[in-house]
Point group: D2
Chain length 292, copies 4
């Protein structure tokens, strides 16, 4: 399939590379061209503009930082350049409101739109083992499936309306952040009480909470690995902000999400740059008067 990947950060690079490996014809574009050029050796064509990247594709996948970056890409050639009939697969974690709006804008140009945010950190992107959460018209998702198969080991379908995938993605991220905060409070109490933290975490993750989120973040917290960022604190704050925006739109109070927002904001001011989401636990420990 002729595919463009717009946004070649840590995530986009892995995605583009796996699309090349799977035999697709891949054009790549990035705001700072250097990152895109590294993919030439994988067989990707480095486009000179977004319009150049998308002018003849069947599918354009965007993986950019936030709403602003996606709006810039749309205005900077994506809306105008994407052929009628082609699909825009939006994999960035963006606001529910923007995603809902995009459905209309693409439809008015005869373009298809699928929201397909992903779960997984850069290593999962590199390994082609992301989890894709797709929503939109079933026919368009079907056509995009070969792309999802190249980058992910699971594709879940969240509904007919693209923004439902964005809600689901944001809810998932909220549960991750909530887990990190609760683990952080727990480990602060355990440490203050002289518990063997490693044994305690083992108990939790071998029994009640045996999923990967508790294991990955629990280990990082117990080992005090707060930097460099896998899932950066700033991104986590952005996502909690999007959750609260979506909740506000739906008139749903989310008191724990509110606590997470305030904690993440404090942590961002107090933690070194490039801190991981796990630094919420560092803040919890410092607020408890524990030594670093």
């Amino acid at each position: 399939m002729r595919v463009a990947v717009i946004g070649i950060g840590k995530m986009g690079a892995g995605i583009a590379r796996n699309l090349c490996k799977a035999g697709h014809q891949v054009a790549v574009w990035n705001r700072s061209r250097g990152k895109a050029e590294a993919l030439a050796q994988d067989g990707a064509r480095v486009a000179s503009s977004i319009e150049d990247a998308v002018h003849d594709v069947e599918l354009a996948l965007t993986m950019v930082a936030d709403d602003a970056a996606l709006e810039a890409a749309l205005a900077g050639g994506l809306l105008k350049g994407l052929p009628a009939g082609a699909i825009h697969v939006s994999s960035s974690t963006i606001s529910v409101a923007l995603s809902a709006r995009l459905a209309g804008e693409h439809a008015s140009r005869g373009q298809a739109y699928v929201a397909a945010p992903v779960f997984g950190r850069p290593d999962a992107a590199a390994a082609g083992k992301l989890i894709v959460l797709a929503a939109g018209p079933a026919e368009a998702i079907d056509r995009a499936q070969p792309v999802f198969d190249a980058i992910a080991h699971r594709t879940f379908r969240a509904g007919d309306q693209p923004q439902q995938a964005n809600v689901a993605k944001l809810c998932g991220n909220y549960l991750i952040v909530s887990t990190v905060q609760s683990l952080g409070e727990t480990v602060a109490l355990a440490r203050s009480s002289g518990l063997d933290e490693t044994a305690f975490l083992g108990l939790l993750t071998e029994t009640l909470f045996s999923g990967p989120v508790h294991k990955i973040y629990g280990t990082a917290i117990v080992e005090k690995r707060f930097r460099p960022a896998g899932f950066g604190l700033g991104l986590a704050l952005k996502d909690i902000g999007l959750v609260l925006d979506a909740a506000d739109g739906a008139k749903v109070p989310m008191p724990v999400a509110s606590v997470l927002h305030d904690a993440a904001l404090s942590a961002l001011h107090r933690s070194p740059a490039d801190s991981d989401l796990a630094a919420l636990a560092e803040l919890a420990a410092q607020n408890a008067g524990l030594p670093d």
Copy 2:
């Protein structure tokens, strides 16, 4: 081994029955005698008083509702009647402060003391598949091991000081309550946004959060099974209160635990009697204006 079980509620009954099955000589006592008598057919001796239950045992296991009930049992014969050299295994979810105090009181009488709270709902107790979290002198835990083996499929050792097992148990319960609250907020948002909740929960529990707590409570929340109680809302509130007491003693702020406390208290006033901890999600949905 000659064993007494003090407190024959849903949990204690399963424990006593499995001890009988494993060939131990079991005396049982309960404040309201009827519940204890049901165990006679399993081979347990129904004691006429706490002193009668414990006077010749090697180990007395207590499984009662709260601090007050345990203090009543201690004053009502346990402290006086337990032979020197015998072990008091305290499996109730009690305060860290009481557990710390008991270590001293038993020691002064030449009795051993092991805190061994358990994870697992009544069905796990009935099946002998609890998880035991033991702390105290290693020698005493070793002697109690055959009892743990009869009631549990895992025994974790939390440390040398009995109250460390209580801290660990409370932290585990805090994480359970926190998970339920976060799932409740999430499902309220998902429902308001028209997501297929069952598919969404499947995504979460097949990938990021594949442990049993998310599965059990997530399913209950999506299916709106809020009653009858497995882990009752009132007990959950009690446990969060104990977590906050322990945190206060250790000078550890736990902002999410504070939110849970306030939510559980509101839910207790608003929910029918015999509501499960899962009713936190019912409160979240009602606060979001969703129909029952």
Copy 3:
């Protein structure tokens, strides 16, 4: 002075009437024309459109519900029709972001812009006893002063940049909502403990908290006057949302504001329509299991 008042709700009507009384030539416009017509007997001219209202004025004062209503008025004739050199006085409680943007838009058309939100309920507007909080170029505020003198008994100047008045107004509203919530929690505890609430409130408002907010809302709470709305619950929620938006823009965590947001949202779902902000105390009492 030739003045237009755009938005003739409870607040705008009092403002327009006092401007007529003070001898200004007043044109009025309202989306639903009926409310505007009631002012003809006070000497106001009922304009047929926004452009008609503002085409020859020296000052146009807007007092509308929210950002959306103000943007509609701007697009619906205000921006285009306001003469160069005339002043737009924006008295609505709007977002900091919109106010900052308006400064630029008016400047590019040679119009002046002053943000001048007010404190005071409709009875204060009717009595010409509002408090005006003005920010913007000093020269423009000076020119607007006769208008402020007709509607208010105090004018405070918050700074050179219009949006500083909006921040100050939102902060004031936040403190009001925070006071109501804290009083609500307090009265719930006092009532549960059998205190004489009226005596208790008297103690507070005669000593520590003798300002008008504690007196007005404290009395409403103790007397359970939750409806009809003076300062409506929905507006309070809107304002707390604007506070949180402003705080987010400035990267300031406001944990109490977050609690207020979630409480107001829950109260909105649970309270009858037309409930006052004081209904936060009704929610607090219900969450405490107290009878209505």
Copy 4:
């Protein structure tokens, strides 16, 4: 009247001095004798023990740090030594539970008991301008009135049951702490937005919030006077803990009080010793990334 004052800290010293000035015969006792001896020059008798202080009094007023200190005084001679018919006036800020218990203990010895906590900082105690909040049998309060008149300019009666005064006092302190936290969040946002803080505070305290608490703490916050303590951060945390205990006993959720507890605990770990309650605003500013 023959009076004993037990507990000669900053508050107790002012109280004892004003009782001497008013012509009462005053015996004083303090755990560290030095502080008591300073009152000899005011005419007080420095007692050698609590029993010595109270053996012939009509009224013994206690003003100590907390529940533990009061229980120590009771066990250390006050209960045994206070003559039958004499009154114990408890002016410390203690728990509702202890106050309720004391009513019974004193009654069983034929002693009267009045809870009479006070509002006012040490300068108000020195000036005899405290506010007394008394509860208990009306007859006993009547007899104690001359003592209250010597130390306070207002006496409020909260009810027949002594602990009602303690609830009222704790509620008052909760509202003070809540005010400081809200002001702290507000000033952080105002400062980030470039408002003139002094003008902004003036606006608030001349209009909406003209009572003394907003003025005193608002000024301290704007001027960054966080040390030394008038009302110490540690005492504020203790009081919020007592509020939450009382609320728990009454099953009243107090979500803002929970936030205050967690903020005060964090501030205590992060602020220098001898910080005032106003340091909650210092924490808010630091959490917002503002320079000290």
